[in-house]
């Protein structure tokens, strides 16, 4: 083959032949047997020796016909059946699958166990921290106050007996008529926290924080405790940092608490 023909075939196989030349190339393939033969070998090499392609053949080859006939013989038909059977047995082998399943389950249960441990431990420790620091006994007492003392003293007593729901009703009703609004807001927020109504508790403490009451800065402290109980540790840390750097209510306790959280 000449180099010109070689380049021609090469360009055709790579799809680089211009449209006009492609037509005359195909005509030559059809009419020139010698060129056709050369092209076929070239194409076979081109496809077979490229790892990304494959050189296919045609059914009209005599050997292919013979293989096809032999494949219909009893012995090869029986082999086909045996292969199907061995394949399905082999690929559904219970001991392999079960062993794998066992490993997966074992691994999964360890992960779940660790997850529980982590979650549970954290929960417990956050609850403990909240309980340690909230210091309910240190809350202001309404007992000695005059006007509203009966109602608020009653609410306080309910609160101390952990009847938070009932206590809340009273705190809410007294909120706008009391002189001790700051303290009532603190009780209200803590009662909500204890009941697990974290969103409402957060709102209550925000009202306190944004008020011009003397107790406003106490709102930060209780809000931080609320976040700890709600497992929002990062949020709690942010507030505690603020309390410490501004020297607000319970800043010493806040510092201590921060250390525990870290």
């Amino acid at each position: 083959m000449t180099m010109e023909d070689d380049i021609l075939i090469d360009n055709y196989l790579k799809g680089l032949l211009p449209k006009g030349e492609e037509q005359s190339f195909l005509e030559r393939l059809a009419s020139d047997t010698d060129f056709n033969e050369k092209f076929n070998l070239e194409k076979q090499l081109f496809d077979a020796l490229d790892e990304n392609s494959w050189s296919f053949s045609e059914l009209d080859n005599s050997d292919v016909k013979e293989y096809k006939k032999l494949l219909e013989d009893d012995d090869l038909q029986n082999l086909k059946k045996t292969l199907t059977q061995v394949n399905s047995e082999f690929n559904s082998e219970p001991q392999i699958d079960n062993r794998r399943l066992f490993y997966y389950l074992a691994a999964a249960s360890i992960i779940i166990f660790l997850g529980f441990q982590f979650f549970f431990n954290q929960n417990v420790s956050n609850q403990d921290l909240y309980n340690d620091y909230v210091a309910l006994n240190d809350l202001p007492s309404f007992v000695s106050r005059s006007d509203d003392k009966d109602e608020l003293a009653k609410a306080q007593s309910l609160f101390e007996n952990k009847k938070y729901k009932e206590a809340l009703v009273v705190f809410k009703s007294q909120l706008n008529s009391t002189e001790s609004k700051g303290s009532v807001l603190i009780y209200k927020g803590i009662a909500q926290t204890e009941l697990g109504n974290y969103n409402e508790a957060e709102k209550t403490f925000n009202i306190l924080i944004n008020s011009d009451l003397l107790d406003a800065e106490k709102g930060y402290w209780y809000k931080a405790l609320l976040f700890i109980k709600a497992n929002r540790v990062e949020d709690a840390k942010q507030i505690l940092d603020k309390i410490v750097s501004n020297g607000w209510f319970k800043s010493d306790k806040a510092e201590e608490l921060l250390k525990e959280l870290n």
């Binding site: 077979a48 490229d50 494959w54 050189s55 045609e58 292919v64 292969l83 394949n87 690929n91």
Partner: protein, 187 residues
């Protein structure tokens, strides 16, 4: 009887115990190859079965000799069968006039011939000079003449083309001289 013909005979004799041993020793490697190359478990199972049938029918017709280990040879056949599967759709596009129903036996019979042709080509490629082998490997991997010029430090692309032309002629000479060539091309 060599080890290799032992396995080939076992296939023809439908020896299920040995067939099971073949599965145990070879299937996972094939499966991992197929799955790594965009196939599924089912594809791996099909390829493996077709490969064993290919070996059986070829051995039945011509008692061929496996020159490497049986495991290595079976893996190569499976790899090529998977290449064949991946390129089937491309091949159909160019031959859309042939819309016959696919027949497993057709596929296996064709694959035997194609595997034999591939063996002839790759074995012939091993026989030419190292430089030619390197050049042709890049050429068949569709490396551009410009890149080959850089790699082999030739002066121009024309020189590369001439070199490819010469090496290809050498390869074709070896292929045509081989006794197997005639059977692979005559109708």
């Amino acid at each position: 009887m060599t080890d290799n013909s032992f396995y080939l005979s076992a296939l023809l004799n439908n020896d299920s115990k040995t067939i099971k041993a073949i599965y145990e020793a070879n299937f996972y490697k094939v499966k991992s190859f197929v799955i790594k190359n965009s196939g599924q478990q089912q594809d791996a199972e099909d390829v493996f079965q077709k490969a064993l049938l290919q070996l059986a029918v070829r051995y039945k017709k011509e008692k061929f000799v496996i020159k490497t280990s049986f495991e290595a040879y079976l893996f190569t056949v499976c790899k090529n069968l998977w290449r064949r599967e991946l390129n089937k759709s491309k091949n159909k596009v160019t031959k859309d006039s042939l819309t016959e129903l696919p027949d497993d036996n057709d596929d296996i019979a064709l694959a035997v011939l194609e595997q034999k042709r591939w063996e002839l080509f790759t074995e012939s490629l091993e026989l030419i000079s190292d430089n030619c082998k390197q050049i042709l490997k890049l050429y068949f991997a569709k490396t551009s003449y410009a890149d080959m010029m850089m790699k082999f430090k030739y002066n121009s692309e024309t020189v590369v083309r001439q070199r490819v032309f010469k090496c290809k002629n050498k390869l074709k000479e070896l292929v045509k001289k081989d006794n197997r060539f005639k059977a692979l091309t005559v109708l």
